[in-house]
Symmetry: D2
Subunit: 297 residues, 4 copies
């Protein structure tokens, strides 16, 4: 299968269950909302080593938010519900409540359940907090030195999908990188999907475990490493490929992840110097979802 | 004491011991280095609820870096050495190694000791890693799908200072915010100091413990809350103040923190609508350092 | 009339006829499209002294553009059709054709007529240019050193409206500025309207002519200058106002300008420290349109 | 000659005399200064079709500016002194005076002469303007609606150098583009030099005149066009080159341009996929300066 002259390998992305929250951060200006969203989603590339997977989903103009101010939607995810509860509480409490002029609203459709994040944060008000109604939402208003911080009492979570992905195999590193950038721009327009790695891009696709170091849970995917082409047996990259980047996607459901994969791949193949699109999986034994590239595109 | 017509209160910032690392992240472009630096320093406002305090210190042009590429210096801090070791390993491993085209170098002068962060990360190479020399530094080169990631074998840490701070008391919230922005811009030019909160600014100065909720470790500083002026006994803000922001500073040593406080205060008082500069302390009982505003300025 | 406790003066913005073009700039990435859009709309605040009035209207995701790449819509305006023709040719030719990976499409609904901008630019190809079809559009593809540049053969223009405006009167400069920022963010979401001044904000509202210097066409609006309150007779600003910013809007038609004024005003009054919204006019003698604040809101 | 394995062709950049101004724009924050600098340097790629060549030179922290606020240094250039006088007046008057919180200072060392830009702009104050001293500089303070605008009375100009340049020949367009980005980042650190094209990069190197269309002053450099390799006789690009970008540099003197070329080339060759560095000239007949690549590097 080809798109725009680029081969789409007959392969699949192996994806996993994860619990997902999705919240809207509003602020006095677009820039102030972005500052808070960026802090709250940092250190959130993969639960392999980060306390959560997190990213910015999309921008919402003031005309469409509960408090009439511009906002960014972020997603915070973890396999474990208690850990997600903790991360949501701390990331909202330490990175958004502390940020200038912000407010937080639940922005998840069809939640499986609700966490009492706002309910817990209200105690920071030390008795001066108030419960108010914002467009039918129950919101706690907490007095701060700079003014009041509003946070919705309960924030929804649901079963989502983590680890949707595709590989961009390119003539060289810069071509792979530009295509990855284009893919991230396209995925930004898909609601309910984030690309949690730095700038949305993964430079270091990995395999489970390690051949040499038995104490390791994950190590470099040497068969896809461009500088090891002449060294590694069973190398899986074509001779003319010298740069490989991966896009990893978390979504509110399988459809969101598939739509993001499709948008990203279609954007990536428009960039010159792209040779092949592939995907990462573990033989289908680890993850619940097998997202076939030929089905997605 | 007055600067530019703004009263500098006779007060002090109470600051604490903290262990500090300081590393340089280089990349193919300034923007790519910033992407990695931003991810690695996110979720890092205060160890009250974040796993580290972290921030971007300054930009270094390609002419002055070990590998001739543009870079950003970041600082990652924690009171506890083992926790700092863990944070450094995970933030470099999950947020910089995974980012496009990056490399990491130690950038701390006069370290107390060195952590083997690079030494540990090299195992990700699963035997294909190499040790190279970059301008006299021992560096591990780890093959990735996109190319090779270089990280210095050992990264220095030292005893630094956390919690340097000052308050900006303003006629209204926007004036406090613009002055805070100006202060953060000025502190950016002070080497060895970061402002770890979102955008460098704290909207929610707190007190230790809580009057009403005994289970809380920290709660809002109600005597400095602008919307509680008529409600709280012992309110500490002048009648005409309606917006208060705090700048919190971590530094490699006391001098860096003092220089940052001075730079920030001098910048803040240039903004119109600023009424007073104060500082946050706990009566001098908790922190090792008492940074007097009248001494600093 | 009050919105959010802020007085909306019973006043009107006086607006003018202007000829408007509206084009879409696409590129390999969102950032590259923004670079070209920014260069092409620079030096374009007011035709009083700039060769055009120009600004970025909105972002269009790759899913909605003719070539499937991300893009920004810009508007370029001039009262005089020949001057607009010249500006469109030079700004596209010097600032977009020269920019990396860009393409240009007509993005104006219901044009009065079409200018042959692309038709003229194709000669740059020196005989190697080709005419192609992109989603039903006639496009010229011009070979460049970096690749090919595509530009639609004809670009539409129409009679639009310039000089829609409102004033934000604030307790101090920072409050006016934050409210102006919020207004610009809100107007961004109104299609067919731009705020051509730097960052969308005017610091220097003017009057026609000058009282003292007869050779001047325009001079400061001294009756609205915050630092002249005690000096100028007939001062028009309330005693407690110490910062006044103006938002100026150009639009494809009167409805777009009105929608932008409404969106901007509603955003501005949400910021604390705002005292009054007013508007700028010349007694109704100069401009064709009188946009009443009480009608718009 | 090779750097980092990339051939530096034995060729020269042909450069020209141009008159140069260099000014510092300060503002309340770094971002506000950047907004004004961006507007004032827009529509300024080449005097072939733009009214000036203009760009941002560097950032200056508040600690080093006359008014203690952060600032950006910009350069505005034109071959013709009267045109430069006009551009300086209009770009300062329409794009900086109108921008929020700005001030303008002369920032040119060893000027040949001074233009009375500030002296002329002061009339905008309609008699309310004042002359003040800022760190030994004669400055006019002009009352605006938002506050006062300060501009130094006289701004220096001097004979500088335009059209310094080099070509980046790459395996593909993305590699050329990433190398160009890296070059622009490196040149940013060279004082007195700007890269006036969009994002600092030229996608469309040209030749003087046209072979086919005699009415044209400039047309595409078909012998360097990557999509015409099989079509054009005398093609000057190696078979394996599929993307060529040019960096154009204006500087305050020949040394600044040479330093910028050196910095840019050294940065470009570090990017993977770069095959050759060349330069653009017109046989040495048009420009006063012949900047040899082998001499510069």
């Amino acid at each position: 299968m080809d798109i725009n002259g680029v081969e789409i390998e007959d392969n699949f992305a192996e994806a996993f269950d994860i619990k997902v929250s999705r919240i809207l951060i509003t602020a006095a200006t677009k820039k102030l909302a972005l500052v808070a969203a960026t802090e709250a989603t940092g250190y959130g590339t993969s639960v392999i080593g980060c306390p959560a997977e997190a990213g910015i989903d999309c921008y919402v103009p003031p005309q469409e938010t509960p408090d009439g101010r511009p906002g960014y939607v972020i997603m915070i995810c973890n396999m474990n519900k208690d850990k997600l509860d903790h991360e949501l509480l701390e990331r909202v409490g330490m990175c958004i409540l502390t940020a200038a002029t912000t407010a937080v609203f639940d922005w998840l459709d069809e939640p499986d359940e609700k966490l009492k994040t706002g309910q817990k944060l209200k105690f920071f008000g030390d008795g001066y907090e108030q419960t108010i109604d914002v467009e039918g939402r129950k919101v706690h208003s907490i007095p701060l030195m700079s003014g009041d911080f509003c946070v919705e009492a309960e924030l929804g979570i649901k079963a989502g999908v983590a680890g949707g992905n595709f590989f961009i195999l390119a003539e060289n590193q810069p071509a792979g990188l530009l295509a990855a950038d284009a893919a991230v721009d396209a995925i930004e327009a898909v609601p309910g999907a984030i690309t949690p790695f730095p700038g949305g891009i993964v430079a270091s696709g990995s395999k489970v475990g390690s051949n040499k170091y038995k104490f390791l849970g994950a190590s470099t995917n040497e068969k896809m490493c461009v500088t090891l082409k002449d060294e590694v047996e069973g190398c899986q990259i074509p001779e003319d490929v010298n740069g490989v980047y991966e896009i990893v996607i978390d979504g509110v459901d399988e459809d969101a992840v598939k739509a993001a994969m499709k948008a990203g791949i279609e954007a990536a193949v428009k960039v010159s110097g792209i040779i092949q699109i592939s995907a990462g999986n573990f033989g289908g034994n680890l993850g619940k979802y097998q997202l076939q590239l030929h089905d997605v595109c």
